[in-house]
Amino acid sequence: MARCRGGAGSTPAFFGGTRFKLDEQRFVAPARFASIADIEEFVLRAARLAGLDEEALFHVELAVDEACTNIVEHAYGGEGNDQIEVACGTRVVEGTGYFIVRLRDQGKPFDPDVILPPRPTSNVEALQVGGLGIHFMRKSMDRIEFQFGEGGNELVMYKRLIR
């Protein structure tokens, strides 16, 4: 399996050096656009219980929306009979508490490192808007990590519990 990391910081891939077992709260939904609201509701309920404030909840909502949209549109190539597996939990990593969301799919491998951030410009023709979803995930969460391979894709997103 290949590993990637996103977000700020220079810590190794898979923060803390170990895989997380996020089995506290799990949810499996059809990989359809109509499921995104259900997935968001599941994640936000867990995030609220974990103590995230309203601004952090808004950021988590945006990141989960963009991640699920990417899974349906790009990993699975559109709506079908596939699934998205979601797990949430809290962990202390290197002395800091995080709310963690993990999304898994069995779609096409995806390497986020090939996606460049948007470069705003007032030049109509030069403005590129591809990769906005990944950009939002990176900006709205404290850290994101991707793993992809034959078993599918796994995305883990971290939001600090205390700002």
Partner: protein, 123 residues
């Protein structure tokens, strides 16, 4: 606002400036409606557009892409698409993308209309 109110609506303002109103979450459900409304305006030759975001509580990358596409189309035809009344959360999303540097964003609809007509803002 009742539940049957349209999510997206358009209205002529003055001197070929059109208003595009949007209500609720600009997510995967509502974005196609916005895209359709903006395309209809472009097809009718209306290229001076003000999108009033007062009632928008959320926008994702799909919503931003539709606005950028309409802004690009309007600019190509000598017009513009400008925005007004973004709430702080929605403004935060625009800033994350750097699109607060792309769009002209106004506090008041009247300021947006004046800017689209190249008139000084009403004091």
């Amino acid at each position: 606002m009742n539940d049957t109110a349209p999510v997206v609506w358009t209205a002529p303002l003055r001197d070929e400036v059109w208003s595009v109103g949007v209500r609720g979450r600009l997510d995967h459900n509502a974005v196609p409606q916005l895209e359709s409304a903006l395309r209809e305006l472009a097809a009718a030759g209306h290229v001076r557009l003000m999108v009033d975001m007062e009632l928008v509580s959320y926008i994702n990358s799909g919503g931003l892409r539709v606005l950028i596409s309409a802004w690009r189309a309007a600019r190509r035809e000598g017009g513009d698409l400008q925005l007004c009344r973004l709430n702080p959360r929605v403004n935060d999303i625009f800033r994350m993308a750097g699109f607060d540097q792309v769009f002209r964003i106004h506090d008041l609809p009247s300021d947006a209309v004046c800017a689209l007509l190249n008139e000084p803002a009403v004091p």
